[in-house]
């Protein structure tokens, strides 16, 4: 009774305030308010508050570029710019023009909001000082160029000069800060952080509906609201922290670490399906970071931006007790900045449009290649643990968990199509040993010849076979590398320490990597025809401070790319960053969610939309799932293919090994479950194999509909109740596929 009353009250409130107060819909898009059933178009109706978009361009701005779609205006004194989208007449502001009466901005923040560029600079003692263009009276040399402007800015107090170039292109605006033009004339001061157009597209509180997008996990939205649950801003380094600076990844077995930002894209939507932009960091992402401020933290503005790290302070311990000094890094990070702001309008002005725009960007740059599916059957990742070792008395004994022939039997036995098989722990000694420099299997598992036969059988059936390798990792306390010569070093002169699959490992330096990886991969590709499933290298990038091996994070990325471009075989990756997409034939451990920051309001399949139709993606292994049915629904909803981790032997055998993170894996236990999930998922996802995602909508509470380019629509009902709309009925906790007009 009480429930019904509330529902009624809510609807009533909705009817009264629906048109006026947008912020009513602070709920997740993925999780529409109860109201949605009665007013389904409430999100798509144009918002009144957007009337401001037609405002005049102030006199202080002059036109510096124009093409068929956009006009670019610039301000000579603050370097702020405005972009008029001719398709809608909407004006994008890079900065705040005038501080409003109710704006909670102090002097520093006002200057920050009004200036195109702000910098943090550091003195020799590593104390931080911020300077913005509008409060530090810099010398500005403003020069209009073809379709844009170029300005050299000299911040006088620290004597730091930078060059900013803003140009208009067919998709939007490109902002560049070349490294060669940066001058740090006073040795006393170093450039720390550079904030690039931090107030681009900023909005006040809940004055207009919309959201910010951050590439956390599968994708996260932060809706514009007046208040936020957040206590401080979102801060995230692209590709994770630089291990070269922090030396050791923090380790806490109780913590499930937050996702790394794997693609350098942020965005914002003003209104729902009205106006949106994404900012793609084309250059400098290795040293870039995202700061997102929901309204209510310090200021009343919603804004997010890219900042770039040129110099950092670090703590150099001088003894083991922990005493030491804070100093600056010896050399400024060398990298160019280039950010492309791409503008979307109308129906494209939502996160699906943003993802598609980024996809288009990647396709245009040759990063993504369309795949043409051979059949309408989905893939399934089956990862097998080969061997692992256990300590007995003074020796280690290797435990064969799945031999090559057993793997063949299992794959032959399972009724699944297109299996993507990964063999983990194939090397002599098993999973906890260093992979060899030349292809060699553990004796107990089988021979290379057997492996070659298996690869042929699987490939013939439409599947693929890869050997698992973490090429950067040098497993601690293992033989097979030299701690003196082969390892990368942190700025504090320690070996880098990280954790993967329950093992502690150091990281190889680039020289060793470029020597080892081609040798092994060449062997694998030519001798067996198998591919490589690469962990680590797709998502981990670190700088190296070892003498004579010094390596910048950005250069490391280029070297990795070169390394992979040179190898001929099939490579697939675990959660790769964007720069590995060209070499990725399959994406493993696709996030099904985000990191759950309390101020994010929606989980959206941004990454999935970007990759759909180009790279097949597989979820985390389902045997570790605690809610199998719900996880399967997530797979269908996001178009993710299933994964399982298997062994032939019972799992208890590896209980006392470093692979005990695999707490359930026996084929005898999981075989039937695998066939069932595959059959169920294949019926739903098979028809959309290799198709792009073109639209996504929420039909009701916990019901979402994803439309693919071939006109197939998949409707997933996460709620317990049946859902029906017209001829469509989806039972609780189920999904259906139907044909809609494309």
């Amino acid at each position: 009774m009480a429930k019904r009353y509330k529902r009624f009250l809510f609807v009533l409130l909705g009817l009264i305030f629906g048109g006026l107060t947008r912020p009513l819909h602070v709920t997740a898009l993925e999780n529409p308010p109860l109201l949605a059933a009665t007013a389904p178009d409430s999100w798509t109706s144009p918002a009144q508050s957007l009337a401001t978009s037609l405002q005049q361009i102030p006199d202080t701005f002059e036109i510096v570029g124009e093409n068929d779609t956009f006009q670019l205006y610039a301000n000579r004194t603050t370097l702020a710019f405005k972009v008029v989208d001719k398709r809608s007449g909407y004006v994008w502001h890079s900065n705040l023009d005038e501080k409003g009466e109710d704006d909670r901005l102090n002097k520093t923040w006002t200057a920050f909001a009004q200036s195109g560029i702000s910098i943090d600079y550091l003195d020799a003692k590593a104390t931080n000082e911020r300077a913005s263009i509008s409060n530090s009276e810099p010398l500005i040399d403003f020069k209009p160029i073809d379709q844009g402007f170029e300005a050299s800015v000299t911040f006088t107090a620290p004597s730091i000069t930078i060059l900013v170039r803003v140009t208009l292109g067919p998709d939007g605006v490109r902002v560049e800060v070349p490294f060669e033009a940066i001058q740090e004339s006073d040795p006393e001061f170093k450039l720390g952080l550079m904030y690039v157009y931090p107030f681009f597209g900023a909005t006040r509180g809940d004055s207009i509906p919309g959201y910010m997008f951050i590439p956390d996990g599968s994708g996260s939205l932060i809706r514009f609201t007046a208040e936020t649950k957040a206590a401080n801003m979102f801060y995230g380094r692209y590709y994770g922290a630089d291990l070269g600076m922090i030396a050791e990844l923090p380790w806490d077995p109780l913590v499930n670490r937050a996702f790394k930002l794997s693609i350098p894209v942020i965005g914002m939507a003003h209104g729902e399906q009205e106006h949106a932009y994404i900012a793609v960091v084309e250059k400098g992402a290795a040293y870039g970071e995202v700061h997102a401020h929901p309204s209510g933290i310090i200021t009343n503005f919603n804004f997010l931006y890219n900042a770039f790290v040129y110099n950092e302070s670090f703590f150099q311990a001088t003894n083991r007790a922990g005493a030491g000094v804070t100093t600056l890094q010896p050399k400024t990070n060398a990298f160019d900045i280039a950010i492309q702001y791409r503008f979307l309008t109308g129906a494209e002005g939502d996160y699906v449009g943003m993802a598609n725009s980024y996809q288009q960007y990647l396709v245009e740059n040759g990063v993504l290649q369309k795949i043409s599916p051979s059949d309408e059957n989905i893939g399934i990742r089956l990862e097998f643990l080969g061997g692992e070792k256990e300590r007995i008395l003074f020796w280690h004994r290797s435990i064969p968990m799945t031999t090559v022939s057993q793997m063949g039997e299992i794959v032959g036995d399972l009724e699944v199509k297109n299996p993507d098989i990964i063999y983990y722990g194939w090397q002599p000694g098993g999973a906890a040993s260093m992979p060899p420099k030349k292809l060699k299997l553990d004796r107990k598992l089988g021979t290379v010849g057997q492996l070659q036969d298996l690869v042929e059988t699987i490939t013939a059936k439409g599947g693929s076979f890869s050997l698992y390798v973490d090429p950067q990792a040098a497993i601690r306390d293992e033989k097979g590398y030299s701690t003196r010569n082969d390892l990368a070093m942190s700025i504090t002169n320690f070996n880098l320490i990280g954790y993967n699959r329950s093992k502690v490992n150091f990281y190889l330096n680039l020289d060793t990597l470029t020597e080892r990886y081609p040798a092994l991969s060449e062997d694998v590709f030519s001798q067996t025809g198998a591919g490589l499933a690469l962990d680590g290298i797709g998502s981990m990038v670190y700088s190296d401070f070892k003498k004579n091996h010094v390596l910048n994070r950005g250069d490391a990325i280029l070297s990795y790319q070169a390394l992979l471009a040179d190898s001929a075989g099939r490579t697939s990756f675990y959660r790769p960053n964007d720069y590995m997409f060209p070499y990725t034939s399959a994406y493993y451990d696709m996030p099904l969610s985000n990191s759950g920051y309390i101020y994010t309001t929606d989980v959206v399949p941004f990454l999935q939309i970007v990759l759909a139709g180009y790279i097949p993606y597989y979820g985390p292994a389902l045997n570790f799932s605690s809610n199998l049915q719900e996880d399967l629904l997530k797979h269908v909803d996001f178009g993710v293919y299933p994964s399982y981790f298997l062994t032939h032997e019972i799992t208890a055998k590896i209980l006392n090994t470093s692979s005990n993170w695999i707490f359930t894996s026996s084929y005898a236990q999981w075989g039937q479950e695998i066939e069932e999930t595959y059959a169920w998922l294949n019926a739903l996802l098979g028809p959309v194999k290799g198709q792009r995602i073109v639209a996504r909508a929420v039909l009701g509470e916990g019901v979402s509909a994803t439309t693919y380019e071939n006109g197939q629509q998949i409707i997933v009902n996460f709620s317990e109740q049946d859902f029906s709309e017209g001829a469509l009925t989806v039972s609780g906790k189920d999904a259906v596929i139907r044909e809609v007009a494309p």
Partner: protein
């Protein structure tokens, strides 16, 4: 505005909607695994929502059986009542000053511990003041005892159990009139070796400067459906934070994996115990103290859903866990996953004694996680109850339950004995007869003389002779040491062989001792290197110390004598340790006496042999011998101490030098 958001969240909570995509849990989940280790497992709870409430620094929360939440809103000095996370009433604003504990009975009467006024306040369901009282006046309460009520629980007979801060006598038990009934469930003070030493050597004045060694006072409590009180005590011994008291005040909660910083505990009607600690980790137990799950993480600024900043209270309602966070001014809700539901259903049946019915649930759990030890226990019990002892034996072994294993083994052995005992006795009897007649016949016909000749021939070899010499010590120990001293028998070579054999026996016994008696539940946990190194160290220390002490106290023994003598002294161990370990395989815990007694006998024998050795080899009187042995032990201890000091000094030196180099490299 806020209400609207709340409506939606309420709808979520009531199961009207399910969020299609839930964020990944910010924590990993751990369960009780083999060897007493925690193992990672599937998530048992996923964070559902964080509900902001209009409260300030709230210290306690009570959830009634219909889901109504009462919060001791400490900062606002009131009790706030929430239905579906919506505030419906506020009580006691005129009486309360800083409530930190609240308990609500079935009639809705609120019992409140008010920390600022140090009183107990009882409010009616409408908020009308029923009673308010402070420190009991009864002399029994203690003359100098303070009354600082912080938390409260009430049983069905209206007995109030009050946590009084710093109370060494345990909980304060009172009635609703404010009369003192007695103390309940005191913790015991623990005495460490350091404290004992302090007491021995320090003066009264010095001792007064230390905090008095008194029993830690419980910091929070709860009451279960059987009216048994649970308390938690911070900073106590590992594994003993949680106590569950019978009516007579006896603790029946076993030692278990726990936290020393527990903040609150809650027991649900279906027997699931949850507790939260200061690090935001939530522990779930069954009523017998088995840890089911541990999960949770502290919010270090990342602000992820499901992390906690300063948890103060916890409660289970239905399939959800509510945690009150004082710093967030919010209640964080966690939802049971399908996996944890399976475990809970199994445990409910198991606790009610339906072993056979619970078995399929636990077999399913093992499909999810083969290392979930709790499952083997339940399955083993089911097998045992059904009389399937061989399977029970295997399952108990997996469950690492020595008692259960021993019982199942007793049953199995019983069966074997019943079947074969008569035959075995007959066999032994006939063997005795055969042996008797063979001996007699041998005496007459000298059948075995060639064998004896061969044996005597063998004794020409020194090592064989040394070996035979060992058995002489059984009958004539003192005499035999004399032979060693006079270089007549025994050799360094054989002494070293004995030492090697002793080390091997030491390691082997660990491997072959029966499961019921073995300190290690699985051979893989045996720290072989440690065992070997300690044994060698002990042998070395004894020999070195004894020789050095003896040379300065008129001992006649040479190094050689001491080494050989000590080796031969160890023969009881060398001969009998293995057989005892082997026999332990056919014993059950019922016959533990046989096992421990024979072990003690063996060690006693070794000790006596060593003393005789010292006496004979060095030619001491009895009093000299005792003094020498004691001095030897003292010297050995000094060796260890010196070694430790040297180690510390060298590490310091190393640190110092490496720091200099670091500095040079940095600044130079």
């Amino acid at each position: 505005m806020k209400r609207i958001i709340q409506f939606i969240f309420i709808a979520l909570l009531l199961g009207l909607t399910v969020r299609p995509t839930r964020a990944d849990a910010p924590y990993t989940t751990w369960a009780w695994g083999p060897g007493g280790w925690l193992i990672m497992t599937q998530d048992a709870y996923t964070p559902l929502v964080e509900m902001d409430l209009p409260i300030s620094e709230a210290e306690d929360m009570f959830v009634t059986s219909d889901g109504t939440i009462y919060i001791a809103d400490t900062g606002n000095a009131r009790i706030a009542k929430f239905v579906d996370f919506e505030e419906v009433a506020s009580y006691g604003e005129d009486v309360l000053t800083g409530p930190t504990g609240v308990f609500v009975d079935d009639e809705g009467i609120m019992y409140i511990a008010d920390a600022k006024s140090d009183t107990i306040v009882i409010l009616g369901p409408d908020g009308n003041l029923i009673n308010q009282f402070g420190r009991p006046t009864e002399p029994l309460f203690g003359k100098n005892r303070e009354f600082l009520p912080r938390k409260i629980a009430v049983d069905a007979r209206e007995n109030l159990y009050i946590v009084s801060e710093g109370s060494v006598n345990g909980l304060v038990q009172m009635n609703t009139k404010g009369n003192f009934i007695g103390y309940f469930g005191a913790n015991s003070a623990t005495m460490s070796l350091k404290m004992i030493l302090q007491r021995m050597f320090l003066t009264e004045e010095q001792l007064d400067q230390f905090v008095k060694n008194e029993a830690a006072s419980p910091s929070n409590l709860t009451i279960d459906s059987q009216a048994l009180i649970f308390t938690i005590t911070g900073g106590g011994a590992y594994g003993e934070s949680i106590r569950r008291f019978t009516i007579s005040g006896k603790n029946i909660f076993p030692e278990t994996i726990d936290s020393s910083t527990f903040r609150d505990i809650h027991v649900s009607d279906n027997g699931l115990v949850v507790a939260v600690d200061a690090d935001g980790v939530i522990f779930e137990y069954d009523l017998t103290g088995t840890l089911l799950f541990a999960f949770g993480a502290i919010d270090t600024g990342e602000q992820r859903l499901g992390t906690l900043r300063n948890p103060t209270a916890i409660a289970r309602f239905g399939e959800n866990i509510y945690v009150l966070d004082k710093e967030k001014n919010a209640v964080v809700v966690y939802e049971t996953t399908a996996f944890a539901k399976l475990v809970h259903d199994g445990i409910r049946l198991y606790m009610e004694g339906y072993y056979a019915e619970a078995k399929p649930y636990f077999e399913e759990v093992l499909n999810f996680n083969g290392s979930f030890i709790m499952s083997y226990q339940a399955i083993a019990d089911a097998y045992f109850k059904a009389g399937d002892y061989p399977n029970a034996l295997t399952a108990y072994r997996y469950a690492e339950d020595r008692r259960g294993f021993s019982q199942a083994y007793w049953e199995l052995r019983n069966l074997v004995l019943q079947r074969y005992l008569t035959n075995a006795l007959l066999l032994i009897f006939s063997l005795t007869i055969v042996q008797g007649s063979v001996t007699r016949l041998d005496r007459r016909y000298k059948w075995f003389d060639p064998l004896r000749a061969w044996w005597r021939g063998l004794q020409r070899f020194k090592l064989v002779d040394d070996f035979v010499f060992m058995f002489r010590f059984i009958k004539y120990p003192a005499d035999s040491f004399y032979y060693i001293k006079k270089d007549l028998r025994g050799s360094m070579r054989f002494a070293l062989l004995i030492y090697v054999w002793v080390i091997a026996v030491r390691v082997l016994t660990l491997y072959i001792t029966g499961f019921s008696f073995n300190p290690f539940t699985s051979p893989v946990y045996i720290p072989v290197e440690n065992e070997i190194v300690t044994t060698i160290a002990l042998i070395f220390l004894w020999n070195a110390a004894n020789y050095l002490v003896s040379t300065i106290s008129d001992g006649e023994g040479r190094v050689r004598d001491v080494i050989i003598g000590s080796a031969y002294s160890l023969f009881p161990y060398a001969l009998f340790a293995l057989p005892i370990a082997l026999i332990s395989n056919v014993l059950t815990l019922n016959e533990i006496f046989i096992y421990t007694f024979s072990l003690q006998l063996m060690w006693l024998w070794v000790g006596i042999m060593l003393i005789i050795m010292v006496k004979e080899v060095h030619n001491y009187s009895f009093s000299e011998t005792v003094r020498n042995v004691l001095l030897t032990l003292f010297t050995a201890a000094l060796f260890v101490l010196t070694g430790y000091i040297l180690y510390v000094l060298f590490t310091q030196l190393f640190d110092f030098v490496s720091a200099i180099f670091q500095e040079l490299r940095l600044r130079g």
